[in-house]
Symmetry: C2
Subunit: 264 residues, 2 copies
């Protein structure tokens, strides 16, 4: 990293918990490679404090923007001045840019990053039958990106069926021909994705019943730390191929840097 | 600097303008030498936005504290939960520590740093006749530190005489025997100090009339950028020794790091 001076632009990642985030390492390395005078730092912000912290960042003229992750992706939307059409439909953002006049603009890059990470590992989701655990911010983004990438059908599982129906209603607006189902069992799907935060803490339950996993399936995570979640361990034990969470971040680092205008 | 991760503590300097600040370079170097997992970044904050930004920093659990400089040193005092006795008497702080429970505690280190910088350059102020331009936050801190260091008499100049009288009333509480005078002319003083922000911008007027400067005097600045202010240039042209602003920061880097608990 180049030396931080009074002219350095400051970027942040907003998260709770914070210790496991990887965006500072990735984006600081990318800025160094690009010759950008900027630095990304970790801001540990509890859910209840998000409006206060966002107000402070909006008022900080050297603040260039933030990556936003659990638990803030949906809660931050009404605090912003504008969001992209994709972010509005998904109902979440994971990147916020501060314009020179202080306006905060949000974008969702999770889904595109997840698909880019799958493709970089040799897994094209086109035509696949896909199963998604979760209906939160990241799950919404991945559902839209998988539909955009041309999956053949999509099953979504969430403890609260109303959240699945709400996601489906929005998906149908953009992808009316895509077959959608709400079901708990991942059996019979080519691609199984955990898009919940279950697995982040050691005592979390599994996000889905591993009895429905079998050889031939690809099981993918969005959790980056630990790299081998209990779900991926269970999937590997049942003969599945696995895809960890880190490629989703790697797949969107360049997308994030461009959106945040990390330019020399 | 060591790599920034999700575990790195974040420190800031709050200023307007911001480009000239030197604390990030000095304290990031010091943290690297001490093996501290922390980073200091520049936050450009206008005076009107200070309460909003301070509220945001208070709510950020990975925020360790801030260096505070022009124009925030006095304005930030009522925004804090506690200040040291010295800071309360001076009416300004230049360092704020965030305690783990979110309480913000302020301290003033400018004066001690200024005197440490003078001594490191071989100039002991003990017994000297001293002239101080300014009666703001930094000037107050330096006045108390010069009194503590044992100057023989102290003259203060400010466009608003009431601010000088107010400073004197507080100085007399701690140093009742020190001769004090309010006067514009720096002539006849061993040590002449600019403790205003005049000289920060190219079109600023001089903080004092250079006709009162002559060989034998030491003329000192608190402005760090530019290193050679118009006042120092005028002083050198009249045969004075000069002392730039940077040693005041260097003199207090270790004091700042200790106060901000920059420890491995």
């Amino acid at each position: 990293m180049t030396e931080i001076t009074g002219r350095t632009r400051v970027f942040a990642i907003l998260a709770d918990p914070i210790a496991q985030v990887k965006a500072p390492q990735g984006l600081n390395r990318l800025m160094a490679e690009r010759g950008v005078d900027g630095v990304m730092v970790p801001l540990h912000v509890a859910a209840a404090d998000l409006p206060t912290v966002v107000a402070g960042l909006r008022a900080t003229q050297s603040f260039g923007g933030a990556i936003v992750t659990v638990p803030h992706k949906t809660a931050i939307v009404p605090l912003l001045d504008a969001v992209s059409d994709a972010a509005r439909l998904v109902g979440a953002v994971n990147a916020v840019r501060r314009e020179p006049d202080g306006r905060l603009v949000g974008e969702i890059l999770d889904g595109a990053g997840f698909v880019a990470g799958l493709r970089a590992a040799g897994h094209d989701p086109r035509g696949a039958s896909a199963y998604l655990a979760g209906a939160g911010g990241a799950a919404n983004a991945i559902a839209f990106a998988l539909a955009e990438a041309g999956v053949g059908r999509l099953t979504v599982h969430n403890r609260t069926p109303a959240r699945v129906e709400d996601l489906f209603a929005r998906l149908r607006r953009l992808h009316p021909a895509l077959p959608l189902a709400s079901a708990a069992d991942p059996a019979g799907h080519d691609l199984v994705v955990n898009a919940t935060s279950l697995g982040l803490r050691p005592d979390d339950p599994l996000p889905l019943d591993p009895a429905g996993l079998a050889a031939g399936q690809l099981v993918a995570e969005i959790i980056m730390q630990p790299a081998k979640t209990p779900l991926l361990a269970a999937a590997a034990a049942r003969g599945c191929r696995t895809h960890p969470g880190l490629p989703m971040l790697e797949g969107q680092l360049a997308l994030m840097a461009d959106f945040l205008r990390m330019r020399p």
